[in-house]
Amino acid sequence: MTIKSLEELIKIREGAQKKVNLRQSGDDGEDIIEILVGMATCGIAAGARETLHAIIEEINHREIKNIRVVPVGCLGYCHSEPVIQVNIPGEEPILYGKVDSNKAKEIIHHHILGGNILKDSVLINTFQRA
């Protein structure tokens, strides 16, 4: 196919951007929301990989920008794996426990987009950001 106008180019660009978004977000600095997913042995055994996939899919589906999902090592809460931590700039970091795929989607919907913390799933919220 050939591009015959600026609009067509921008349309192609939007499609292409989805594939490379995660490379850009890292360089923008301060306003990035971070989701850290505990991916140690216990986390993976408890299903952290499925959780990670669900998060990525949901972010992509809802076209959320300025966010990055980082797999990290053991967060030390093996009893509640999979564990994820949500860091929103200017807010206290929130640590969620027993996050399966559905819970992950809820967190994105209610917490990241809606601004409401899912109190029932919070493990702890009084510690310094990792």
Binding site: L6, L9, A16, L22, A40, H53, P71, G73
Partner: protein, 597 residues
């Protein structure tokens, strides 16, 4: 469509490929398939990150982790630790030489902190063999805007106002060059990209073409529209096979999307690009010689005027711009002349890419705003001098430039200031020298290069550089005579004033500048037959310091002519008449007892 959660960017520049990045990519892909992570993790082969001294480079998104010197054997640990378990592989992180700490994230590295990347904006960020990735980061929008929203005259005035000057070394206003070609009578007109990069140690243009070929294609199309040309040539040396390969892919992909070819963006503008290969002659970087080479004639310069803007390729108006110059054009169109003009110094706007080489810790490619000092480049970005040696000089401008010494390290870099201290901007080669480098020898090295590369058309250059080289050779062999320096100086000015093209006119610069700043070295070579650094082999005299020698016999055992004698555990000595000055004893001694010169 697969959504990848992690992108493993592996540098696919020539530097990293030669240290094994291709095998690393294969190994990463193999392991990803084996562990069934291939659906969620993507390996991307990118252009040059610039950090060539530490290659192969791997950067992982979105965590922004930067690994250095990654061997194929390290792939397993990266996959098992970083990708599967989210743990950084500490031993592969970059170790900052000045601060003695491991650097976790890319943005914390001193090497990148002071850089400002315009021409290299996409190098290391995109896969250069995928036009979609270039488009994703704003590619071809500048061409679209120029064609659909601007008149050619607007494009020229924008580029003129931005203050962009030729990055090949001359520093002529790019906008003005475009305007002169547009106004010149005659058609068809041509636009040529000069990718005949020939300075020893310079690889700026190669890296741009390898890492972001589309930025050059897009800019050439914009330039073609501005000056009224429908045909562009990229003159590239055949020694750059990877750059050629990526350009061929890029041209093909751009044609498929209609971004090159007929009726681009539906405004009736046709533009095509063809590659022309050079045989790697230094003189073909000179625009008239380059044009002759494209025409199939001998790569020899002709006198200017007429300038190519009036009579160039096939006698038609032709605009020749350098690769890096072109790479600056799309951002200027998108972000505006004022944005570009806000970077840099009063007369030199924007940034400049330098290939940092020689005795510096971080060898590589850096892009810095004009006006930065050499000290910042060498110490902050370059990480200082290797092995804690003392800085002596830095050569900018390659064989056309000169040396810059300690006292001028704080000069803000721009076209005029470098000229004022006896060097020049050049295309961007920057070779750092330490206390072990002999300046007479350095001058000889550059003259050896220029006398060899001289095309032979004009006598001053053909014969003059040869004679200069012979005098320098004589001096470094200890056969120098008192009047040699005067002869060198006379020859220098004669060649500068009478040579036909830039090659000859600038060839004496390394000699003049080393004679100016390191006169005492010339004098000690000529008068005392003494080279303080020991790099002039003929002048070296190896001796053994009896107080330091412990009699380990290491030197005697490596000496190929058995001229070192002495009993075990007793100080040794060198018989000077038999010594062939190979330096093996100097390298073998663990006690610093062998002294040179």
């Amino acid at each position: 469509m697969n959504t990848y959660r992690t992108h493993i960017m592996v540098c696919g520049g020539t530097g990293c490929i030669s240290s094994g990045s291709d095998q690393l990519i294969d190994e990463l892909n193999r392991l990803l398939i084996e562990t069934q992570y291939d659906g969620e993790v993507q390996v991307v082969k990118t252009g040059c990150f610039g950090f060539c001294g530490q290659g192969p480079i791997v950067k992982i998104h979105p965590d922004e982790v930067f690994y250095v010197q990654v061997q194929p054997g390290d792939a397993k640990e990266i996959i098992e630790e970083h990708i599967m378990k989210g743990r950084r592989v500490e031993r592969l992180l970059y170790h900052e030489p000045m601060e003695k700490r491991k650097v976790k994230e890319h943005k914390d590295m001193a090497f990148y902190k002071k850089q400002y990347r315009i021409a290299l904006r996409n190098c290391g960020l995109i896969n250069p063999e995928d036009i979609q990735e270039y488009i994703a980061f704003g590619g071809y929008e500048a061409l679209g805007r120029a064609l659909t929203e601007m008149e050619p005259a607007d494009v020229i005035s924008l580029v003129k106002r931005s203050g962009l000057r030729g990055r090949g070394g001359g520093g002529f206003s790019t906008g003005l060059k475009w305007e002169l070609t547009r106004q010149a009578a005659g058609s068809p007109k041509y636009i040529i990209c000069n990718a005949d990069e020939g300075d020893p140690g310079a690889f700026m243009d190669r890296s741009i073409l390898e890492g972001d070929p589309h930025s050059v294609l897009e800019a050439m199309a914009i330039g073609g529209y501005a000056i009224g040309a429908n045909k562009g040539y990229i003159y590239i040396r055949a020694e750059y096979p990877l750059a050629i390969h990526r350009l061929q892919i890029a041209i093909q992909q751009a044609k498929e999307l209609g971004l090159l070819g007929k009726n681009i963006f539906g405004i009736g503008f046709d533009f095509d690009i063809e590659l022309k290969y050079g045989a790697g002659a230094f003189v073909c970087g000179e625009e008239t010689a380059l044009i002759h080479s494209i025409e199939g004639k001998r790569g020899e310069p002709t006198k200017k005027p007429p300038f190519p803007a009036e009579s160039g390729y096939r006698g038609k108006p032709t605009c020749v711009n350098n690769v890096e110059t072109f790479a600056n054009i799309p951002p200027i169109i998108l972000k505006g002349a004022d944005w570009f003009a806000s970077i840099g110094t009063e007369k030199s706007k924007g940034t400049k890419v330098f290939a940092l080489a020689g005795k510096v810790n971080n060898v590589g490619l850096v892009e810095v705003p004009m006006g930065i000092t050499l000290r910042e480049i060498i110490y902050d970005i370059g990480g200082g001098i290797k092995d804690n040696k003392k800085f002596k000089a830095v050569q900018t401008g390659g064989p056309s430039g000169g040396v810059i010494t300690e006292e001028n390290l704080d000069t803000p870099i721009d076209y005029e200031s470098l000229k004022a201290i006896g060097s020049m901007m050049g295309s961007g080669g920057m070779i750092v020298m330490d206390e072990d480098d002999c300046m007479v020898n350095i001058a000889k090295f550059y003259l050896e290069f220029t006398q060899d590369e001289s095309c032979g058309k004009c006598t001053p250059c053909r014969v003059g550089t040869k004679r200069m080289y012979e005098i320098l050779e004589k001096i470094t062999e200890g056969k120098g005579e008192a009047e040699d320096m005067e002869h060198l100086e006379q020859l220098s000015y004669m060649i500068k004033d009478s040579a036909l093209c830039g090659l000859g006119q600038t060839a004496p610069n390394p000699v003049l500048s080393t004679m100016k700043y390191f006169r005492h070295e010339y004098i000690s070579h000529i008068r005392d037959h003494y080279c303080e650094t020991g790099s002039c082999k003929a002048l070296v005299k190896y001796r053994i310091n009896p107080e330091k020698c412990v009699g380990c016999t290491a030197c005697a055992r490596v000496c190929p002519v058995n001229c070192i004698s002495g009993a075990v555990k007793k100080p040794h000595s060198i018989e000077e008449s038999k010594c062939i000055k190979c330096g093996a004893c100097y390298d073998a001694c663990k006690f610093d007892a062998v002294i040179k010169p």
